[in-house]
C-alpha cells in the first residue's frame, strides 16, 4: 500500500470519527435540552398545582394562621394590659400608703385636721339639711370630738346645723360617713372612697403621665 493511500485512509477515518462524535454530541445536547425543558415544565405544573391547592385549601390555611397569630395577639395584648394595670395599681397603692401616713398624722407636709374638717364640711354642704350623724374611725372620731366646736364655727354659714358624732368607729383609713337624721341620705367621704372615685376619674391621665398609654 502506498503511503499516500494510507494517509488518505487515515484522514477519512479521522474525519468520519469527528463527524460521528459531532452527531452524537449534538444529539446529547438536544436530549439534554429536551429534559431541561421538561424539568422546567414539571416545575411549572407543580407550582401551578400548588397555587391551585392553596386556593382550594386557602381558607383552611388562613384559619390556621388566624388561630395561631390571633392567639398570640390576644396573649400579647393581655400581657401589655396587665403591665399597664400593674403600673397604674402601683401608683394607686402608693397613693393609699401616702394617705394612710397623712391620716395617721405622720406626713408633716399635710395638716390632716384641716383635711378631715374639709371632708366633713364638704359632705354636709352636699347633703343639705340641718341634722347629721357623723361616723369616722377611732382616731378621726377622737379628733372630731375635740374640734367639734371649731368645726361648727366654720359652718356658721349653714343655719342651725346639728352634728352628732356616732360613737361606734368605722373601718376606714380616714374621712367621714355622714347620714341625715332619718337615715335617708348618706354621704361617703372616706379617703379610700375618694381614692376609688379619683381612680376612675383620672386613671387615663395617670397612664399618660406614666407613659403607658
Amino acid at each position: 500500500m502506498k503511503a499516500a493511500s494510507i494517509d488518505l485512509e487515515a484522514r477519512l477515518i479521522e474525519r468520519t470519527v469527528d463527524q460521528r462524535n459531532e452527531v452524537i454530541a449534538r444529539a446529547e445536547e438536544r436530549a439534554r435540552r429536551i429534559l431541561q425543558v421538561a424539568e422546567a415544565e414539571c416545575e411549572r405544573i407543580r407550582a401551578e398545582s400548588d397555587e391551585q391547592i392553596l386556593n382550594i385549601v386557602g381558607s383552611e390555611l388562613r384559619a390556621i394562621r388566624d388561630r395561631i397569630v390571633g392567639k398570640a395577639e390576644i396573649e400579647g395584648r393581655k400581657m401589655l394590659m396587665l403591665a399597664r394595670e400593674r403600673a397604674l395599681s402601683d401608683v394607686f397603692e402608693e397613693a393609699e400608703k401616702s394617705l394612710k401616713e397623712i391620716a395617721e398624722w405622720r406626713d408633716e407636709r399635710v395638716n390632716y385636721g384641716e383635711v378631715l374638717t374639709k371632708m366633713l364640711v364638704e359632705a354636709i354642704s352636699a347633703m343639705g339639711g340641718d341634722e347629721f350623724i357623723v361616723s369616722a374611725n377611732e382616731r378621726d372620731l377622737s379628733y372630731l370630738k375635740k374640734q367639734i366646736g371649731e368645726i361648727k364655727d366654720r359652718m356658721k354659714e349653714f343655719d342651725n346645723v346639728s352634728i352628732l358624732l356616732d360613737e361606734k368607729p368605722i373601718e376606714a383609713i380616714g374621712g367621714v360617713i355622714v347620714r341625715n337624721r332619718d337615715g335617708t341620705k348618706t354621704y361617703h367621704n372616706t379617703l379610700e372612697g375618694r381614692l376609688l372615685k379619683a381612680r376612675s376619674r383620672i386613671e387615663a391621665e395617670v397612664a399618660r403621665i406614666l407613659g403607658v398609654i
Binding site: 493511500s5 485512509e9 477519512l12 477515518i13 468520519t16 470519527v17 463527524q19 460521528r20 452527531v23 452524537i24 444529539a27 446529547e28 438536544r30 436530549a31 429536551i34 429534559l35 421538561a38 424539568e39 415544565e41 414539571c42 405544573i45 407543580r46 401551578e48 398545582s49 391551585q52 391547592i53 392553596l54 382550594i56 385549601v57 383552611e60 390555611l61 394562621r65 395561631i68 397569630v69 398570640a72 396573649e75 400579647g76 395584648r77 400581657m79 401589655l80 396587665l82 403591665a83 400593674r86 403600673a87 402601683d90 401608683v91 402608693e94 397613693a95 397623712i102 383635711v115 374639709k118 371632708m119 364638704e122 375618694r194 379619683a198 383620672i202 391621665e205 403621665i209 406614666l210 407613659g211
Partner: protein
C-alpha cells in the same frame, strides 16, 4: 482502490449508525420528558383531587402552622418588649403621677 471504497462504505455505515443512535437518544429523551410531564400532571391532578377532599394537605397545614408560629413568636416578643418598657417607669414619672392622685383625693 477497492480497499478505500470498502473503508468508505464502513465509515458511511458508522455515520449512519451514529445518526440512528443520535435519533434513538433524542427519542429516548423525548420519551422520558413526556413521561416526566405526564407524571407531573397526574401527580398535580391527584393532589388537587385530594385537596378538594381535604386530604393530603398535611404538609401545607404543617408548613402554615410553622410559619404562623414564627409570626406569633415575633408578635409576642414585640409585646414583651413593650411590657418590659412599661415596667421600667422612671421614678420622676411615678412621683408626678402620685402627686396628681393625692391632689385629686385630698379636698382643696
Amino acid at each position: 482502490m477497492e480497499r478505500v471504497l470498502d473503508i468508505g462504505e464502513r465509515l458511511q455505515k458508522l455515520l449512519e449508525d451514529a445518526e440512528r443512535e443520535a435519533e434513538r437518544n433524542v427519542a429516548e429523551a423525548q420519551k422520558r420528558a413526556d413521561e416526566m410531564i405526564s407524571r407531573a400532571k397526574e401527580e398535580a391532578e391527584t393532589r388537587r383531587h385530594r385537596a378538594q377532599r381535604g386530604d393530603g394537605i398535611e404538609d401545607l397545614t404543617r408548613g402554615e402552622e410553622e410559619k404562623a408560629k414564627e409570626e406569633a413568636a415575633k408578635i409576642l416578643d414585640g409585646y414583651r418588649v413593650k411590657a418590659e418598657a412599661i415596667k421600667k417607669v422612671s421614678s420622676a414619672r411615678l412621683e408626678e403621677a402620685l402627686k396628681l392622685v393625692l391632689r385629686e383625693v385630698l379636698p382643696r
